[in-house]
């Protein structure tokens, strides 16, 4: 017994010495986990860059990025379920969660455009000249219910095609090029790097290009909020300082991105993420306008995303969602020093 007691006392003393104390707290960085559905995708660059440039570490955060197989939906599920405290995610997921009575809040805008495009196989060049020509054809989206699905539905509806007049197929993000080549789908919604590579290989042409501000304006009729950093209200309530630190690092990352060239960025990133640096640089230059220097979430953009989701009744017809309830720009504004 006394032996055991002594052991317990020893352990307690050890803890008392090691755990608290001024200096100890400052060098023990706070651990934070961020879920991402595919770290290689261009839209997640701000988080990935902030990590590789050490911006999170400068804020005293030890950020672990969990690359979650299965895409953005799974990353958002992890956030809702509490496995991660943040996820870099399309604002769509906050809206879908809201429909199911769960609150998620966007605290930083990674990009301000959809950063996707509709690509058509070359063999249909003579037949498909506009969105209306897609009627009756199989068209690929990355997965059912994803952002590409919603945006495609909105584009079709805007061009007088009822969404059920098109066969919409979940063909996978990275398998989309193959699905188009094998003629499983005649056209498909593509994200980068696949979009840039496919066009560069001369296998298809872009019917809609929402990597640029003008392309997005032409296709969608206004701003569309893209990927953001999402978190839960309880994280904001319990750890507001952590949220602020995350946002500080990301604002810094976006400033660096908007003032860098594609080549510089390709060099900064770990080689397994940048892939072929030349291609990455090219793909970045194409999507450059998507990155907002101010990192602010756009109210108009969020409102438009809610509208896109009404096409398939992902947001039920009678349901009203206030865009303001989905984002909080205070952290970005503080980081910008306004």
């Amino acid at each position: 017994m006394p032996m055991l007691l002594r052991l317990i006392v020893a352990v307690l003393v050890l803890f008392a010495v090691v755990v608290p104390g001024g200096p100890a707290a400052s060098w023990a960085a706070e651990k934070v986990t961020v879920g991402i559905g595919g770290v290689g995708l261009m839209v997640y660059l701000p988080t990935v860059l902030a990590k590789s440039k050490g911006f999170f570490a400068e804020e005293g955060l030890d950020v672990e990025i969990l690359d979650i197989k299965g895409g953005g939906s799974q990353a958002a599920s992890a956030l809702i379920g509490g496995s991660v405290d943040f996820s870099a995610n399309a604002i769509d997921h906050a809206i879908k969660a809201k429909v199911q009575k769960k609150d998620l809040v966007a605290v930083h805008a990674h990009v301000r455009l959809p950063v996707m495009g509709l690509v058509v196989a070359n063999k249909y060049k003579g037949e498909i000249k506009s969105l209306a020509d897609l009627k009756g054809r199989p068209v690929g989206v990355t997965s059912p219910g994803s952002q590409t699905h919603m945006v495609l539905g909105y584009l079709l509806a805007k061009n007088g095609v009822k969404p059920d007049e098109v066969k919409i197929i979940g063909a996978g993000g990275n398998t989309m090029p193959l699905a188009i080549e094998k003629d499983s789908v005649h056209a498909g919604m593509m994200v980068d790097p696949f979009f840039t590579v496919f066009l560069k290989q001369g296998k298809g042409y872009a019917l809609v290009d929402m990597f640029t501000a003008k392309g997005t304006l032409d296709a969608m009729g206004g701003e569309v909020q893209g990927t953001t950093l999402l978190t839960r209200p309880d994280v904001i309530a319990k750890k507001p300082a952590t949220v602020q630190k995350m946002v500080n690092a990301l604002v810094k990352a976006n400033k660096l991105i908007t003032s860098s060239s594609g080549e510089e960025l390709a060099k900064t990133l770990p080689s397994e993420l940048a892939g072929d640096p030349k291609l990455y640089a090219e793909s970045f230059e194409h999507a450059r306008e998507a990155f907002p220097p101010d990192s602010l979430v756009s109210r108009e953009g969020v409102a438009r995303v809610i509208e896109t989701m009404r096409v398939f009744e992902a947001v039920p017809a009678g349901m009203k969602i206030e865009p303001e309830s989905l984002f909080d720009n205070r952290y970005v504004q503080k980081a910008l020093g306004r």
Partner: protein
């Protein structure tokens, strides 16, 4: 009264208990989600689920998708079964073949086909074919191994007696081998129906524009637990229906079945 076996089971009592347990489970589920002990976001709610399924049936939405899945399941199931019986039978009759292909069969069967699904979709496209192939790949092995065993296990005495009575090879197959293997084949069919449906749904889940797998995958990406669970319940009902049908068929075809007592 003094029978030697176990006491006679009262089926009325069994049914009563089943009903009570199911009712208690549903009630607990409903109360737990209403009281906020469990978040309905994750597990939905029995009443909401029932309303969802009713709504699906009323609008005809679910019938369209269920028919697609059933079509894939049944085509794959029939082809897989035919193939399994044919190959199993051939191997049982020509032992040489069985020995040559044994490692291959074991290796192929050991492969997790569900993980292969994305490849099937690349090879066979996003339409019906990839799902049918997926189903066949799952059904074939169950039926093959059962048929093979069934034929090999035919009563030696029966075979010898039939031969002594002058049965030619055709008679042997028609009156001795197939009937006795049928029991095995039918029991494997009831297992493989479940597999068949899994194959079709996984295929749809990974790439399609209709079917129950699509419905579930869509609901999942909408964080709609009700949609996911309602889809699963519909599938469950479909499997039970097929199982009952197979049971009836089994009773009709296996008239020969030896009396096991």
């Amino acid at each position: 009264m003094a029978t030697s076996g176990p006491a006679k089971i009262s089926w009325a009592k069994v049914r009563l208990w089943r009903g009570v347990l199911l009712g208690a489970f549903l009630l607990l589920w409903e109360v737990a989600t209403r009281r906020g002990w469990v978040d309905p976001f994750f597990v939905s709610q029995p009443t909401v689920l029932a309303a969802q399924i009713f709504d699906w049936i009323r609008t005809g939405f679910i019938l369209r998708h269920l028919l697609v899945t059933m079509q894939e399941t049944l085509i794959g199931f029939l082809l897989g079964t035919l193939l399994g019986v044919a190959v199993g039978f051939t191997f049982a009759r020509w032992q040489m073949l069985a020995h040559i292909f044994d490692p291959l069969m074991v290796a192929l069967n050991a492969m997790p086909r569900v993980v292969l699904a994305p490849l099937f979709i690349l090879w066979f496209g996003l339409g019906l074919l990839s799902k049918v192939v997926m189903v066949i790949s799952l059904v074939f092995f169950v039926v093959f191994f059962s048929t093979y065993t069934g034929i090999r296990e035919v009563d030696r005495d029966l075979v010898n007696n039939a031969r002594i009575l002058g049965a030619n090879p055709r008679h042997m197959i028609r009156h001795v081998l197939l009937p006795s293997a049928l029991t095995w084949i039918f029991s494997s069919l009831r297992t493989s129906v479940g597999f068949a449906l899994i194959g079709a749904v996984v295929g749809e889940y990974l790439g399609s524009h209709e079917g129950m797998g699509y419905v579930i995958s869509y609901a999942e990406s909408m964080f709609n637990a009700t949609g996911v669970l309602a889809g699963l319940l519909v599938l469950m009902a479909a499997v039970i229906a097929i199982d009952i049908a197979l049971k009836r068929l089994d009773a009709r075809f296996s008239y020969w079945k030896p009396i096991l007592k």
